[in-house]
Symmetry: D2
Subunit: 361 residues, 4 copies
């Protein structure tokens, strides 16, 4: 289904070249003072055309709120938001009508549904994430108000270039100061250069986004299936182009022994903390009060300018070379999306925790 | 919630030292001839005490089916199954009553619920996975009957030892022939030795399980949130001790360019296939007919015999050394669990696909 | 939550005086040729201002479809639809800002949320049903295409006037030919007169809507909680102003004995049918192929012109007399809504039945 | 699905003649002191064999709790409970193997699933309600602890005999003092006689159960689909043999005018109350603090001793006369079930209300 979340819930809709894309946010508590500029700010971080490192498509992506807000505050009723598709150029995609682009969803959509909107990726377009970012922007505001929880994400790796980032101190300003959204000022220019080279070579690059959530209340996450790490994994792996998720020590931790890996507890001035954070902020699927830290692998953009072997819908071999507007590296625009999904998961679990584990009177 | 799946659904229950652990399987189609020995076979693969590489606890883990089956066939009604907790020794855990074991769920459960069953991990015990394995065993039978889909999982890596395995040809027999469940006969003995060394050193090891699903119908998975890769990620990250999930090229694919990474389509005797499988069998979140291939990172077992620094429930620093029975490396028992979760995800999406994308009459 | 349905699902949003009201339809199968005029037709049946028997508010209620449809066919992706609030006159409601209208939702919304949109009922307005009717119109088209199932509803009773209607033969044309939507031409004029009298007396009337579904496939409905009768009851009781639901013999059947009430089976030319239909078309919660017949009780409209005792938000006693535009009897506009909800329930169960109880290959 | 509830949730399982019937209660808050005798008390009220007014089958129906409780308190984990099927006599039903009993679920189950357990009704047996009653007994305890909310149900009508009952003052003791569970001592003996007459005539009777919930917090119920009245309607109409549900004025209210029907608000010593309760305790789908009062219509028991016309599974006409043990009137055993379902709905909405509408800090 096109719905995510149990108590704080979004339902997204829209194709890249239909009338609009949008989201219904259901379950947001009432009386939250809603900062609409903050929602637009997140959409601007996500939108194309921000620099020569992203696709040259110019999309205004101006958010409209149609319900759920009254005199500046949430009503507790569904918040419907949309962005009109203004810069759609379906003619750009006409040559793709009968072709299955490699590593895109054309083939699988056609097989699954027997029909697809071939204009710009249709429902599989990254444009669908607009609804997630708008919904996530509200979740962020709820988290800030309710428990001062902050979610951040940034570029950790582009192709073979990796950046060290301090998860305790990294700020939104540092992230936004970098055109590639890598807060390490030494690595950021090299990444920009690497992306520009790929663009000129009509090729594309992948990489890794790191996400961190700070000030997460202890106790979020439900054991067994709805572990915090499980819901974060689903959230991230539901994004286009993601190929992997790891939390805490992740795949690297598999070469450690238990005595090296275990996070020793200690009493830090009446607050129980862990000396290391190989667990990535959750134990037994429940937040332990340490930073939640995870990485998400994004494959190189499937749309490239180089010629590629493929087949058409009749099964004939054809050669394809993209002429449309596209990103040489989606990671630059991904932090807003990863933050949004993180906030949605945490907001949902915050409400779930409130419901059930409030002490009985 | 303790429920997983939308149409093919399991609800698990039980603490490691309560009366029993069990599962209710809801949504299994009727008239499936149920092979109960095959369910027990999977539980036997999961159970402790199989060799000196696993915990010496002996648990019969004999399955009882209480409903949903009539004259050997499923009724279409809920299938309730349980395993009694026969070998429980709560006294083994008495010294843990007031202690938070490092990298265990003791602390977070206590904080979340204000109460916990401290006997053997309670609900956070790996014993909970019995219900998953029993439910998954039924999902496997459904998949085999409905579409000859096969799910396999095996040890790909223990500590720093990695094994090459051919995902096209690997068999259950090869996996089960290895005491560590690594089907590569060259690496398997080294892994066994490495685990035995860790055991003797009162330490523990982690590693990687690789899962593969073959003969998956094209079209499974729902775009946007319930992508096949997203539901697999959630399934795997909902398991105890998992720290990462990757599909297809995974994190390794982030250092490739788009022209290297894209999977070219070709016409293989009227079946459209891809020359490479960096996508891991799904595109746009929907199965494309190639093998689904993924890896899951498991941290080294948190329970170790070595002395560790920690705190008790009053916040006092204490030293802890496990005296209970435990596994030096959980990966040996994990393949049955990973296969079960894979089968549960696929069975659920098989039913979802049937419901909606059957051509209209 | 603001979502209804498991596989065929609607999410409605919007306040009566916000920007718009709308719906996201999720789970509609692909390749359905969508008749947009048929959706508008249903909205027109629901909209105010149709005659002097309904509120004089003129609302265009023109539907806009923003996603999910391509070249006239459904894509299998979410269908987002909205109607702008054009004729909103918040000033009409200013005097209600601080008053709790009797038998309205003002008091309970304020208590639940601590905030409410007091303009025209906000989220509790009957205007919310626009989304249901639009979504139901698509469900109707699916049912017609898939199994020729037809849903009809009409006025069975207004105040003390009751009409006999033949559930086997009644047609949409007969219903729409009556200004009160009562297909019995003898009773219809009396009902119209009764409503007009109530309008002149600044009072209001209630009554009963009867719903019938014909050509329902045998086997819809899931035993236990999601019985067809249970989901229909929820659907109807989720409508504003409904106070009761009964199926088949309903409350009247409670004075019969079992030997009078039981529906004898007989073989009607190789089709097993029942001689009577006291069961109302379902047995064990599952459709048996007979007509589904049920009634829904609607209370008299809470908004009346007569002076009424009430309190304001500060607890002070005040006298209230509505000056806004309102319906003396909502039943005239209710048939489209009851049909929509019936179609939504049946479409959902049609997909559920397809998913699970298709014979295994 | 076999699951009911969103946050406080039960999953029931079991056929009448399988190994056992049971329930998994998920979402019960932790630290609730669980009174197991109170659970058994409710099961005893439901069980057959209580007097000559119920079926002479003797079933112990002793509850076993297998998980989720530790040292007398709930853990916040799933509570699994079961009752073994001890008095099953499948041979009693052998003659029914190939026959469709009128107004039973035999025909529809067979058509839906292609298979059915014909022993004693299988999954469609009233024995399934054991799980509901056990789960509801826990919900009752939660409601009492959390907000002193009390749910009661009793026989309001048997056949043509109706009893006046004061919903404000009726007590459990008064209900249990009557062998037919009608708290009106004038009508109760006449009802008993009427039932006994039906039994001797090998016939059966229906009637009406009235439910009341007192001390319900203001604000429970979610507008739109999950209105309190809608969830109660679904709960009641999901019970076997129910044919109608009405709340407050119900069907009777349809003959009133708005000025007669509206519930005037007044200030009762700083508490806002209504002078009448035609709304039945909810407005806009949300509890308003008045008693919740509703009625449920039960058809006469389908199993009767009199000869009936029907068909067998081959479509041949046959005559059927029940020889098994059965109830001449199920209403005597129904109050515990109706109370349980009421408590489950209220407990679920209590948790939902806590989650979302707690004031933000």
């Amino acid at each position: 289904m096109n719905t995510f979340g149990h108590l704080f819930r979004i339902t997204t809709w829209g194709e890249s070249h239909g009338g609009a894309v949008g989201v219904v946010v259901d379950g947001c508590p009432p009386q939250l003072v809603l900062d609409i500029a903050a929602i637009q700010f997140e959409l601007n971080r996500r939108k194309p055309g921000q620099s020569h490192l992203t696709t040259p498509r110019q999309e205004g992506d101006a958010i409209e709120i149609l319900s759920g807000v009254f005199e500046g505050k949430t009503l507790g009723t569904p918040i419907s938001m949309l962005v009109w598709n203004k810069n759609a150029r379906p003619s750009d995609y006409k040559h793709l009508k009968d072709v299955y682009r490699p590593s895109h969803a054309d083939f699988t959509y056609q097989q699954k549904y027997g029909i697809r909107n071939w204009q710009g990726g249709g429902r599989a377009s990254a444009r669908e994430t607009i609804g997630r970012v708008a919904g996530g922007a509200i979740a962020k505001q709820l988290l800030r108000e309710a428990c001062q929880t902050e979610t951040l994400a940034y570029v950790k790796q582009i192709h073979t270039l990796t950046a060290e980032v301090d998860t305790d101190t990294v700020t939104l300003e540092q992230i936004e100061a970098s055109p590639v959204r890598c807060p390490n000022p030494n690595v950021s220019p090299k990444m920009a250069e690497r992306i520009d080279t790929a663009r000129r070579e009509r090729d594309s690059l992948g990489g890794v986004i790191e996400g961190v959530a700070r000030n997460v209340p202890i106790g979020l996450g439900e054991p067994i299936f709805d572990k915090l790490k499980a819901d974060l994994a689903k959230a991230m792996m539901s994004l286009p182009a993601t190929m992997g998720f790891q939390i805490g020590s992740g795949f690297g931790g598999t070469t450690m022994t238990g005595s090296e890996h275990n996070d020793a507890f200690y009493n830090d001035d009446s607050r129980i903390r862990t000396r290391t954070n190989n667990s990535g902020g959750t134990q037994g699927g429940i937040s332990n009060g340490e930073n939640i830290v995870f990485q998400v692998a994004f494959k190189p953009t499937a749309t490239i300018g180089k010629a590629q072997e493929t087949v058409d819908i009749h099964g004939n071999a054809v050669e394809l070379a993209a002429s449309g507007r596209h990103d040489p590296c989606v990671l630059v625009r991904a932090p807003a999306i990863v933050e949004a999904m993180t906030a949605l998961v945490l907001a949902d679990h915050l409400l779930r925790q409130r419901a059930k584990y409030t002490a009985l009177p």
